[in-house]
Symmetry: C2
Subunit: 330 residues, 2 copies
């Protein structure tokens, strides 16, 4: 059987991945730490065409056949899998996100994690999650972290073999919530894959990279102790530091919109004025992720939904690693 | 006669002053460059009470008598002048800004420049503008630059005597416009004087300070050649770098509001989409200064006024240094 279907969760980074040391292998400038998401996932079926009838890979995303240009990253990734298996087969790939595109949830993380696991399973390649993490990294850095559930660190390493994610704690360790406040449906003009190459043009990059070791340690300790007040300040600092690098690169990447600031200011007001234990982080886009303990989530959701510029709120718990499913999308 | 009235223009920094090397003397971590403003100024009358009847300094700002707490910075500055003149006299000080408080125009720059010049003149202290610049610096760093008209550089120096502003070009050199888009009337929670002390807590400070030398050179060259397209990118970069330092200091200073981002995104759209030669800079607050050549100002003003979050627009030309007036406010 040359078909397999895998569901993989996206992840939200507490310490971000921004900037590459090796752009071919996607080896990052620093470690990063994330939480894999239970409720924001991609389900992907890969069916290899052993007959040779297919001339190109076919990629259907959320029910829409993708153009060759939009399939290029997928095909490059499948080329790596074909190389490993020693085959020339083309593939039918059907993929479905349970969250909207450009919602501030990294669809490339869950998408390339699911593609990697499904593609290898369908080829009969037997690989452990660490090896799969290295493979997923080649297509999208943050996908390497979605190979494990719960709380995950991607060790930057220095080669294809050792730049891989490692699990810190399972999803049951800490009942956190990620509330994504979607402020804009616009697609971003520059994918984060392009932005990584610009990081080195920022005069502020070195400052972040020099300090990120201490922040990683702080986040590990906060997760170990399930301490939201220790986790929160450092995730806000690192998100602001990453956006500082983005804004000051050449060309300047200004991902924020007015709604972004409405939420950032509101979070600080709720925390400092009302004692609500909620903190923010922001990926490469205008939307804001609010991180809090499960018991604070209903109050945070109510307040967030009342803000003028919040279009919708997507809530997720910590989730498992990739799972092989019995039913296929094709 | 122990009374004098002086009008001094505020200034808008193209390369910012943020962070102090010596907090008592207000010696900055880097040079800064600004344009003195013709149309945003403070007029201040200082009358020294030679009779000894006054027990404290009296400070009336925009028609309102200020509390002792709000007069403290003024009194500390007058103490320096009293020391120089060898007198114990208290002063009546009446001051009026022709622009609203918390409008994004630095009232401490024009205010302390006018106070310094008027206070010294009324005491009969004869000092050249360089010496007055050093004196003004003691109360408010950016006030040192308002001692000269036109385009001005504050050389950081290393002592009270040599940390002074120097004129680069007079106001007639380049007919630029500063359009201040006021997005919020709220007073900021932290004065910039307090923020300067926090700069060193930012992991990104060193990156800005390391690179600012090249940016200063670029700005000097752009002013010399009256080249808005050379000036613009570097003033945007430095403003974003300064706010990066602010956001990542401990505690984090997030001066921006939703309206700030509406304007930043609009400026880039107008420039990249429509070829309008306008660039932004931002001081320690939510309002945005748009810099353009005189001929572009009407179009920029029309567009700016149409933005939802812009409450008002204040426009200024390059202006002269402090001027002694014949009529007094008292």
């Amino acid at each position: 059987m040359s078909i397999a279907t895998v569901r993989a969760g996206s992840n939200i980074a507490f310490i971000k991945y921004w900037g590459v040391a090796d752009e071919t292998l996607n080896i990052p400038l620093s470690n990063s730490i994330s939480m894999t998401l239970a409720d924001a996932h991609t389900t992907t079926t890969v069916a290899w065409d052993e007959t040779g009838a297919l001339q190109t890979d076919i990629f259907v995303l959320d029910g829409v056949a993708q153009s060759p240009a939009r399939s290029q990253r997928l095909t490059r990734h499948l080329d790596i899998l074909r190389g490993l298996a020693g085959v020339m087969w083309r593939a039918w790939v059907t993929s479905r996100n349970n969250f909207p595109t450009a919602s501030g949830i990294a669809s490339s993380a869950s998408g390339f994690a699911a593609l990697t696991v499904a593609g290898c399973a369908a080829l009969g390649l037997e690989m452990d999650p660490t090896r799969l993490s290295a493979l997923a990294r080649r297509s999208s850095g943050s996908a390497s972290r979605s190979l494990f559930g719960g709380f995950v660190e991607w060790e930057k390493g220095s080669s294809d073999a050792d730049s891989v994610a490692v699990p810190l704690y399972g999803p049951e360790h800490w009942d956190l919530r990620d509330l994504v406040a979607v402020v804009s449906g616009e697609e971003k003009k520059l994918s984060s894959a392009g932005g990584h190459l610009l990081a080195k043009s920022s005069p502020l990059l070195n400052g972040r990279i020099t300090h990120v070791g201490g922040w990683l340690e702080e986040v590990r300790g906060a997760i170990a102790g399930r301490d939201i007040h220790r986790l929160g300040p450092v995730i806000e600092l690192d998100a602001l530091a990453m956006h500082s690098v983005m804004m000051t690169s050449s060309p300047s990447l200004l991902y924020w919109q007015p709604g972004t600031l409405e939420i950032l200011q509101a979070v600080r007001r709720w925390r400092q004025g009302d004692g609500l234990a909620v903190y923010f982080t922001i990926d490469a886009g205008p939307n804001v992720h609010l991180i809090c303990a499960a018991e604070s989530a209903p109050e945070v959701e109510t307040r967030l939904s009342a803000l003028r510029s919040v279009e919708r709120v997507i809530i997720s718990r910590p989730g498992p690693g990739p799972q092989l499913l019995d039913e296929h999308l094709i």
